[in-house]
């Protein structure tokens, strides 16, 4: 004997709906019998109240039994999984059997006055059973289609999220590679060239050659290009320190703030504990997203809020199954104008964080503006 075939929720729903439909239909026909004078008729024939109650209970039980019989037949035939023509044929057969059994049982307490009356009773039952099954199958189809579309949409969204994450990761790796090249080969090459020019300038200066000054000027230009242009380009591509840890990446941003702006980083106890226990908790794309967002928030605080101080708070909410990173960037600037906060350059960061199922909100702080970010952490540190 084989194992029972697994059933999903939708055929069970159809079977249940069919049963409920049949029972409701039976209840309806009983009420109709009472309403059309059936009860008065049997009372006039001299039936006692107990006999009437027993008779009605018998009819109810008979109807429920027939409903069970009918749904058992359509469940046996696995109708919800069949095509509509087969459904109609099988449901009609089951309805014919169910209606016949019902007629036989009901006629035990309410004999038909003639053949036509009996056939009419059977036809009414047959039509009721068939209508109950068809309605349930139709509703089941509608719900099944809706559920299928929902599952399809969820799969498409998950697939799109995976593709975006993959693209973002590749973009981050590429940015890191270019920044490493700028930092390594280009900056180091400029350092060596400037050092060699320094040596040449020193040798020429010892011989009182006036060209030594021109060489020193060229050296200064090389230093300027390295420090102010190549380094800025490297930072813009990939935040310094992001390859090793988030605290270091944010610390680097705060360290590079101009002297007119003070910055403080507060790392929460949960974050510290988890990092001390397990190492870095954020993966590379998350670190880059957060570091870029902090940089943009500070730019906005200075540019739009004329802030002179920013406080960055970083922590973890470890209570849920998925750890969530929380970031607050508060400033002491002029605050938000109007009720609807303007994201300015943060719109892109808002979309990036939303793609990772995180949130980015702007609100008024005690003084200035507060940017709050939550970002679910999907795994331990990646490269």
């Amino acid at each position: 004997m084989g194992a029972p075939r697994p059933r999903d929720a939708m055929p069970r729903l159809v079977v249940t709906l069919t049963f409920v439909n049949v029972v409701l239909l039976s209840g309806y026909s009983l009420s109709q019998w009472v309403a059309w004078g059936g009860l008065g008729f049997v009372t006039a024939l001299g039936a006692s109240p107990l006999e009437i109650v027993l008779g009605m209970a018998y009819v109810v039980v008979a109807n429920i039994f027939c409903a069970f019989l009918f749904v058992w037949l359509i469940d046996l035939a696995r109708l919800p999984e069949r095509a509509w023509p087969l459904r109609i044929v099988v449901a009609s057969g089951a309805a014919a059997i169910g209606a016949a059994v019902r007629s036989i049982l009901v006629f035990q307490v309410s004999s038909p006055t003639g053949l036509a009356d009996g056939v009419a009773g059977w036809v009414a039952s047959f039509a009721g059973f068939l209508a109950a099954a068809v309605t349930a199958l139709w509703i089941g189809d509608l719900l099944g289609r809706a559920r299928h579309e929902q599952q399809l949409r969820a799969r498409q969204e998950a697939d799109a999220a995976r593709r975006i994450a993959r693209l973002e990761f590749e973009d981050t790796v590429h940015r890191r590679r270019v920044a490493d090249h700028l930092h390594g080969s280009v900056q180091n090459g400029l350092v060596v060239a400037a050092a060699q020019l320094d040596q040449v300038a020193a040798d020429l200066a010892a011989k009182n050659e006036p060209v030594a000054d021109e060489i020193r000027e060229a050296t200064a230009l090389l230093d300027h290009i390295r420090e102010d242009q190549v380094r800025a380009l490297s930072h813009a591509l990939f935040p310094v320190g992001a390859d090793t840890g988030l605290v270091r990446a944010i610390g680097g941003i705060l360290d590079r703030l101009p002297s007119t702006l003070s910055g403080e980083l507060i790392v929460g106890a949960s974050y510290r504990d988890v990092v001390a226990r397990e190492g870095e908790v954020t993966d590379l794309p998350a670190r880059v997203i957060i570091a870029d967002t902090v940089e943009e928030a500070i730019t906005n605080a200075v540019k739009h809020g004329r802030a002179t101080g920013v406080t960055v708070s970083l922590d973890l909410r470890p209570e849920s199954a998925t750890r969530t990173l929380t970031l607050d960037v508060s400033d002491n600037g002029s605050g938000l104008c109007g009720s609807a906060p303007r994201f300015n350059g943060l719109e892109r960061h808002h979309a990036r964080i939303a793609a990772h199922e995180g949130t980015l909100t702007l609100s008024s702080a005690d003084r200035g503006t507060r940017l709050s970010v939550t970002l679910p952490l999907t795994g331990n540190s990646a490269p």
Binding site: G184, V192, A195, R231, T244, R248, G251, S259, S262
Partner: protein, 209 residues
């Protein structure tokens, strides 16, 4: 010495070989290489590039110091990644020194930094100190110009005698300035780490941006 750029490694090897007072024991090109060749007790100072092809010089320095707590660390960087340097100071067993690569090619600066790192002193790149501006509203910004200058020279790793010579004042005058600085920055006025704490406070409360 650990440096992954071959041109820089050759130049640093040459510079570190210009005096008999120190000997280059190992020259490694990356983290893995360094962890293999630098054994506890084999060297007094590790000169490390911050960014290496196969890892991070700051983490390497912490690991080497974990193995050998008496090892001095001198970081070299072309990125001025002070955040990593300052983060490491909170857990380092011995104060670290820091030079930008540009300054490391000045032989005197490099050799002095190596010697200081070996002695457990801290030297911060004089070029970076000269570019530092106190942050608006910070305690360092409230120091007098002379006190700021004395604090900057402490961060460079100069002794009180060297500072007095540099500024043309007496040693006791330098000491008085330093006591005032420690008080203003709410640092302990005695203890062997007060100069290191003062240097780190200077770095935190100044900008090189």
């Amino acid at each position: 010495m650990v440096e992954d750029e071959i041109l820089l490694r050759r130049m640093l090897e040459k510079l570190l070989s210009t005096t008999d007072e120190l000997q280059l024991t190992h020259s490694a090109e990356g983290v893995q290489d360094a962890l293999l060749v630098i054994r506890p007790g084999s060297s007094d100072v590790a000169v490390l590039d911050v960014h290496l092809q196969d890892g991070d010089g700051v983490s390497l320095g912490l690991e080497l110091q974990r193995r050998d707590p008496s090892l001095g660390i001198l970081l070299l960087s072309s990125q001025d990644d002070m955040a990593g340097f300052m983060e490491a100071q909170e857990v380092a067993s011995k104060p670290w020194s820091y030079l930008s690569k540009r300054s490391s090619f000045a032989a005197m600066t490099l050799l002095r930094a190596v010697a200081a790192a070996a002695n457990g002193e801290q030297v911060i790149d004089p070029y970076l100190i000269s570019r530092s501006t106190p942050r608006f509203g910070s305690p360092v910004a409230r120091l007098s110009p002379t006190q700021q200058r004395v604090l900057g020279l402490v961060a460079e790793g100069l002794s009180n005698e060297a500072i007095s010579e540099r500024l043309g004042v007496t040693v006791s005058s330098v000491e008085n300035h330093l006591i005032a600085v420690y008080r203003a920055l709410q640092l302990p006025t005695d203890g062997k780490n007060r100069r290191v704490l003062a240097a780190l406070t200077f770095l935190r409360q100044t900008s090189r941006g």
